[in-house]
Symmetry: C2
């Protein structure tokens, strides 16, 4: 595919994807949720280095991009749970390739 290097239509679709996934956190949050529905505190524990403020902001944007769903349960106090949507799960291959590339990159740049 890279043979089409620079082709405007492909540039647009990659740009669309990056706009939805922008930044370091969104894919990591999706990866944490790919293990099953989770509450705010659980996600915050699994995504190293994210602040509560950032997590809250990114969860809202992931919801707007239809990548996760937010459910509120009528308990006292109310319980809020986040679940990855099928559209979110369709990122599996992107996550796979980032994982494999990340391993190779660590070896190449950090040497271990």
């Amino acid at each position: 595919m890279l043979a089409k290097g620079g082709c405007p239509k492909t540039m647009l679709s990659i740009s669309d994807a990056l706009e939805a996934l922008e930044g370091r956190w969104r894919l990591l949050i999706l990866f944490a949720l790919s293990g099953g529905p989770k509450r705010f505190r659980q996600i915050a524990r699994e995504v190293p280095g994210i602040t509560d403020k950032m997590l809250s902001k990114e969860l809202k944007s992931l919801e707007a991009h239809k990548l996760i769903r937010r459910d509120v349960y009528d308990t006292f106090p109310p319980t809020v749970e986040y679940t990855i949507t099928p559209h979110g799960l369709s990122l599996e291959k992107v996550l796979d390739e980032l994982h494999y590339w990340g391993l190779a990159h660590r070896k190449k740049v950090i040497g271990k």
Copy 2:
């Protein structure tokens, strides 16, 4: 792979990859360069919306991550060319998957 959702080792390798590729521009610059070596002006034309200041900053960081190479030719005035490295080209599968997902995302969210 997503069945390992949340596993710390996989979280680390995805995080490593995202740190090297952070932001909207780096992958788009790499995609433009995957079509062959290019000068600054050519890259700026192919990556829609990028400012010269941002392009200059991202080219430096891509070089630091060993994803591109910068060559200076002894012409008058000197010519500078950027070339994607084999390590940069190893991102082909990530770019492929982002491309396919971007197409599906556009259909899902924008409906065309």
